[in-house]
């Protein structure tokens, strides 16, 4: 029963906090660029405003176009629902492991790319093509990270990996460091952040994600934006849960433990958001065909993480 309750709280928590995190990233970047920047609450207002506007749908669009935003948002939300944030004790924790997480996000991407192709414009196709290109290398990298973690922890479930890390079996392991590096690179690519993609631009030939959703407006765009924000928070939560799970509450934790878990998660995620803003301000965007090297690097990093386990005889 408690597991169900925690599950429901968690479900709303990830959606509720996602715009805030995006707001923090944007504010950080604005401050670093010497602007005052909008408040951290601005993303909430943006979503609300979009929700209230009418939606303009292209003449050539099929039902796929109108259905896709719901599918995308639900797939991302569902993925976020199954990944632990403040406690591992949730009803849906065993419903999906890291492989399923990759696949759920792939579902969202499948819909996004199809929606990009649906209207039949050059920009939509360009975005869809590039998004699938990025994903074709990012997804295997993420699965390889899962592989190396599962070799150490003997599980693919993020909650169980978190417990393993909390149990102090890991120490200063190189493999974990490499896997973390690979996962961060994947997260940057999958969320369309600099240096892979620029979330702030609409009118640039290097854009990827924004090109696909170019035709969207109104409530459909609101859903897509919300999905993007939730995905960012989701990746941060996964990184926190797998590599820095300290404070994470378990089935036996009392109310105090839960509060600690909640604030620990929030604190870690906020630090990551500021870090992301800092990183994006420091680095320049990459050429599209450099992305293959970048993500190929992530893939090989994850593979090295696996190989290093044999050196350390951790398996």
């Amino acid at each position: 029963m408690t597991a169900l309750l925690f599950g429901i709280i968690h479900t709303w928590l990830v959606v509720g906090f996602a715009p805030l995190i995006t707001g923090v990233v944007r504010l950080t970047k604005a401050r670093l660029q010497g602007r005052r920047g909008a408040t951290v609450l601005q993303p909430y207002r943006d979503l609300w405003r979009l929700l209230k506007k009418e939606s303009v749908v292209a003449d050539s669009a099929s039902w796929m176009f109108r259905l896709a935003p719901y599918g995308i948002f639900v797939a991302v939300w569902l993925a976020a629902t199954t990944m632990p944030t403040f406690t591992t004790y949730m009803i849906l924790t065993p419903a999906a492991d890291l492989i399923a997480l990759v696949a759920l996000l792939a579902t969202a991407r499948f819909f996004t790319a199809l929606a990009g192709l649906d209207v039949g414009t050059a920009f939509g196709g360009l975005g869809a093509s590039r998004e699938m290109f990025v994903a074709s290398i990012a997804e295997p990298a993420m699965l390889t990270v899962t592989f190396s973690l599962s070799l150490v922890a003997h599980t693919t479930s993020p909650a169980a990996i978190a417990n393993f890390v909390l149990g102090g079996h890991v120490g200063l392991q190189v493999s974990f460091g490499l896997a973390l590096g690979a996962l961060v690179m994947v997260a940057i690519a999958e969320n369309g952040r600099i240096p892979i993609d620029n979330p702030a631009t609409h009118l640039e030939l290097t854009m990827v994600h924004e090109a696909m959703v170019l035709e969207y407006s109104g409530r459909h765009l609101a859903l897509l934006e919300a999905a993007g924000m939730t995905r960012l928070l989701l990746y941060m939560s996964v990184i926190v849960c797998l590599f820095f799970p300290w404070g994470l509450a378990g089935p036996e934790s009392g109310p105090g433990g839960l509060l600690i878990g909640l604030f620990a998660w929030l604190g870690k995620v906020l630090v990551m958001a500021v870090g992301l803003g800092l990183f994006e301000s420091l680095i320049a965007k990459m050429r599209v065909f450099r992305v293959a090297d970048f993500l190929g690097g992530a893939l090989l990093l994850a593979l090295l993480a696996t190989i290093f386990l044999y050196v350390a005889e951790a398996v």
Partner: protein, 668 residues
């Protein structure tokens, strides 16, 4: 008994088809008959799978075949399982054929051969001696060869049939000595005697190698795959569905029968080899598929990929079994068979979809299609479901089998040898790449064909196909969802089927019913049922929230396209441009892809041209070289035709003396 009469009925249908060749209603009648017969076989197979272990395994000996052997038939769990896997898609393609079969090129040649093809495939499954197995195998090969050749006015189809015939003959040529080695000196060709035979390690290894080549060439294993993307698309679409979705499964059946039933002691090294070849096949197959411009060729290459994935799991199962990890072996084998079922379903669905598109537009080229979702809603929706399933997206069935294969791969380093320890992660990467590429490949296929604006007048004029064809696509689409949402029931069923082969029953759900957790309670779990229920809940919530607080107004307007919309339909992304980034990264190395752009000089009104050239490295590197070698040898041997009679006599005499010498030496 039932099976015997059904098989007889298949032959009869074929015969009727030949006799009443001119009858216009013939096509519908033959296909309807095939559908009923397949349905009966499915029912029989399901009955035997459900009653596995509780009854005698039915075995029959019939008084024909080799004089000292007679013909043995037997229906054990594995055969019954494959009976379902093969005849269910068979029934669907027959249903599709009722509306479709009369309109294919060379329909009068296709219809009588179709039941014979089904006969051959079913014969392989119930064979219990090498003779019946090989004869049925050849029956299957030859009837499908004739089906490929049905449109014999087409030069490409003739080339495809030629290559197919050579490869099929080569495959059988390898299987023959494999069975011969297992039968030993006494010529014990019954499977029952083969199970008891003891082979030297060398002979055992040779059997595995020959079986791998023989079955692999039929399944489309790289580098034996060259015939498959030529032959499968050349046949009429419902036959392509059978060849791709079903005949490759007969090959998988043959390999499982030899590796896991007839031979019990395969070294893990062979498992490793099979796994690595499977990984290579998966990656190469999907890379090829991604760059195809023809919808049916794309699907055929995707079959190569899925066969590779199945072989990865089979190799793992063999390696685990040799290592004594029986539960893991069972897990890998269950994963392989799950994928066999899934691929049979969605590949049939996708090929039928391509058949519907072909029937409606007459086009297979991706760049001549587009916007069909509005014009063919049922075909479009079912094709999208098939594409999502083959891309391994939850909650559909493709994801479950790939999840299981990943779970068993992650246990691979249990076999503590450095080749496995380093090989398994690399195979894991290959498998992950294949899965991700498959997603891209099918976004491209579905997106270019069904979404966007129509790229040709034929696509603009497309209409939906008849109801029977729609039904044939809707049933597998629903099953793709069903098999994805209730995976525990499927794995439990398959686990029973393979129990005699591995000796243990794989625990399907260690955490209780809806959670699929095969390895251990903590080692990761997946519950499609919960995922689907939650997804429904979240969708309802989202829709309620958006429609309660948001605006519900929709306005139709011309596409914005960043302010400069193009009216020309060719301004859309095409199939080639969609694949361009990946082609640039992988194509230049793997396929020698060369892009040339001819730009007219300023002021010149000639159109700019873009040409793309790609080669199949396996074809150019291996087969062309082989062909050259054969030609060179033939040239040398050719001289033998122009000798004098005295020299011919000399050759004969020399041969005779050499043979006599051999006999003399052997007798010493």
């Amino acid at each position: 008994m039932i099976i015997g009469s059904v098989l007889g009925a298949f032959l009869l249908l074929g015969l009727l088809g030949i006799i009443f060749n001119r009858l216009p209603q013939l096509h519908a009648l033959v296909y309807a008959g095939c559908m009923v017969l397949c349905a009966i076989l499915v029912g029989d197979g399901v009955y035997h799978v459900l009653h596995a272990g509780r009854e005698e395994i039915p075995a029959v000996v019939l008084p024909f075949g080799l004089p000292w052997l007679k013909a043995h038939f037997r229906l054990d769990n594995l055969s019954a399982f494959f009976l379902v896997v093969i005849n269910f898609p068979g029934a669907l393609t027959s249903l599709f054929g009722i509306g479709y079969g009369a309109h294919v090129p060379g329909a009068r040649r296709v219809t009588p051969l179709y039941p014979l093809f089904l006969f051959g495939m079913n014969g392989v499954l119930i064979a219990d001696d090498a003779f019946v197995f090989l004869v049925s195998w050849e029956f299957m090969s030859l009837s499908s060869w004739l089906l490929v050749l049905a449109d014999h006015t087409n030069a490409e189809a003739r080339k495809a049939a030629m290559v197919y015939l050579v490869m099929a003959a080569f495959g059988t040529f390898c299987l023959l000595p494999a069975f011969g080695l297992m039968a030993g000196h006494d010529g014990a060709y019954g499977f029952a005697q083969m199970r008891l035979a003891h082979l030297t390690p060398l002979a055992g290894g040779l059997v595995v190698l020959l079986a791998l080549i023989g079955a692999g060439s039929k399944a489309g294993l790289v580098p034996l795959h060259v015939w498959l993307p030529l032959a499968h698309p050349a046949a009429p679409s419902h036959v392509s569905a059978l060849m791709s979705g079903v005949m490759t499964k007969v090959a998988v059946y043959g390999l499982i029968r030899i590796l896991f039933d007839l031979r019990g002691d395969i070294s893990w090294k062979w498992g490793f080899v099979i796994m690595v070849v499977g990984a290579l096949t998966a990656v190469m197959g999907v890379l090829y598929a991604m760059f195809q411009r023809d919808l049916k060729t794309l699907l055929a290459y995707s079959t190569v990929e899925n066969v590779g994935i199945i072989f990865i799991a089979l190799g793992l199962a063999a390696a685990f079994r040799d290592h004594g990890a029986m539960t893991l072996s069972a897990l890998a084998l269950v994963a392989a068979l799950y994928h066999v079922v899934n691929h049979a379903l969605f590949k049939t669905l996708l090929f039928l979809g391509s058949g519907a598109v072909l029937a409606s537009t007459g086009e297979r080229r991706l760049d001549r299609l587009g916007g069909l979702l509005n014009r063919m809603p049922v075909t479009g929706l079912t094709f999208l479901i098939g594409a999502a399933a083959i891309s391994a997206l939850p909650p559909l069935n493709g994801f479950v089998s790939e999840w299981l294969i990943f779970q068993s791969l992650f246990q691979g380093p249990t076999v503590a040898h450095w080749a496995m320890r380093f090989g398994v992660p690399v195979v894991g990467v290959a498998m992950a790449l294949a899965a991700a590429f498959a997603g891209t490949c099918f976004v491209r296929a579905a997106g270019i064909v069904f979404l966007g604006r129509p790229r040709s007048p034929e696509a603009t004029a497309a209409v939906e196909v008849p109801l029977s064809m729609q039904l044939a696509m809707a049933i597998p689409a629903v099953l793709c969802l069903g098999l994805g949402v209730f995976p525990v029931m499927v794995t439990a069923g398959i686990a029973t089927v393979i129990e005699p082969l591995v000796g243990v029953q794989m625990p399907a759900a260690l955490l209780g019913w809806p959670w699929l957790s095969p390895v251990s309670p903590t080692a990761g779990s997946y519950s499609a049922t919960m995922v689907l229920l939650t997804a429904i809940g979240l969708t309802l919530t989202t829709v309620l929230v958006v429609h309660h607080w948001g605006s519900r107004r929709v306005r139709r307007a011309p596409a914005w396209d960043c302010g400069h919309p193009e009216q020309i339909v060719n301004a859309q992304y095409s199939a080639d441009s969609f694949a361009q980034p990946l082609r640039r990264v992988f194509g230049s190395v793997a396929f020698g892809a060369e892009e040339t752009v001819e730009m007219p000089s300023p002021g010149d009104l000639a159109p700019a041209r873009f040409t793309l050239r790609m080669i199949d490295p396996v074809w150019d590197g291996l087969y062309a070289a082989l062909l050259w070698l054969v030609n060179a040898i033939a040239d040398r041997v050719n001289r033998l035709q122009f000798l004098t009679i005295r020299r011919y006599l000399l050759l004969m005499f020399a041969t005779l003396i050499v043979l006599l010498l051999v006999v003399a030496v052997r007798q010493q």
